[in-house]
């Protein structure tokens, strides 16, 4: 119970931050919505962690619900890094195009 309260407080902190950032127009509407949904879902997971334990056990996993969520988040992080790598590669190519234009125009 105590751990859940701590986790919800952390989520509350990040939610407050994203609202402030949106108010100061530091994040776009899409980004705001993404994080809002993300933290809301995280809060739901924390609140219903016991139910998730049962669900995970029913699905045949031997680990607790929180462990399975951790595995899933590692997989999600890998995916995000991969997306980032591709985005960087594309930016890299754009930089080369600019450098090329400068070289030829000079």
């Amino acid at each position: 119970m105590f751990q859940q309260i701590i986790a919800l407080m952390v989520i509350g902190f990040f939610l407050a931050r994203i609202f402030i950032q949106r108010k100061n127009k530091q994040v776009s509407r899409t980004e705001f919505l993404f994080w809002l949904i993300f933290w809301f879902l995280s809060a739901m997971v924390i609140v219903f962690i016991k139910k998730i334990d049962i669900l995970v056990a029913d699905l045949g996993f031997s680990a607790a619900g929180i462990d399975v969520l951790l595995y899933l988040s590692v997989a999600a992080l890998f995916y995000l890094i991969f997306r980032l790598r591709i985005k960087l590669e594309k930016i890299d190519r754009e930089i080369t195009k600019i450098v090329r234009e400068i070289a030829i125009k000079k």
Partner: protein, 231 residues
């Protein structure tokens, strides 16, 4: 195509202040239009190349050999080149072999002419390259790109105008060698390999290292895989 064809020799160079003048001097005996692309060198390469009176383009930051070659290709193409010859600045290639490289293109039967270290016996290649690196590179080219040629990483090549148009180099680093072969293949360009000599020096690339940006065997494989995914 005849001997009066507008031929441009593109020399990408990165920190080659000690060798660039000699390379230009050697190539000048064969080809009049020389385009040196200084790839953001931190030494006197740009100045030394300019002193020779040839066209020198400068990348404001280092982008890699593939990027420099494409800059040269674009410049040559925009200036009406019929053939572009790629020639390394580090003194590993032999300028006197350019006519042999150009011969297939003059016949109009071929669009791409590639120097190969595995035809004839003119290069004294280190055994690590001959028996380890190049067989791996050939396998990678075949598996990833479907290209089957004797020399997977040859930098000595000549492209016809049609080939320049079809092959736009997007690989900034050393993976451009494989990319060129791949694009020539998918665009059904006719390729001819000719024997070439390579004088190996300490500046070549290995499995992990190389001079400049995005060099080395492992980096090439990484770049090719990434390009495949982005596609």
């Amino acid at each position: 195509m005849n001997i009066d064809t507008k031929i441009f020799c593109i020399i990408p160079s990165y920190n080659e202040q000690d060798r660039i003048k000699k390379t230009i001097k050697d190539v000048k005996k064969i080809i009049k239009n020389i385009v040196v692309v200084d790839d953001g060198s931190s030494d006197e390469t740009y100045k030394k190349a300019e002193e020779t009176g040839v066209t020198v383009l400068r990348h404001v930051i280092n982008r890699g050999q593939g990027a420099a070659l494409q800059t040269g290709n674009k410049f040559a193409y925009d200036n009406g080149a019929e053939i572009a010859v790629h020639f390394d600045a580090d003194g590993q290639f032999v300028a006197n072999e350019i006519p042999r490289l150009l011969k297939p293109l003059f016949s109009s039967k071929y669009d791409v002419s590639l120097g190969s270290r595995f035809i004839g016996d003119e290069s004294k290649m280190p055994w690590t390259k001959k028996y380890i690196l190049f067989p791996i590179a050939r396998l990678v080219n075949y598996v990833l790109l479907g290209v089957k040629l004797t020399d997977p990483q040859s930098g000595f090549r000549a492209l016809s105008r049609k080939a320049m148009e079809k092959i736009v180099i997007e690989q900034d680093g050393s993976a451009h060698c494989s990319e060129i072969l791949y694009k020539a293949n998918i665009n059904k360009l006719k390729i001819k390999e000719v024997p070439m000599t390579v004088i190996y020096n300490e500046y070549g690339q290995s499995l992990f290292h190389g001079k400049g940006r995005k060099k080395g065997g492992i980096q090439i494989i990484k770049d090719l895989l990434l390009a495949k995914i982005i596609q």
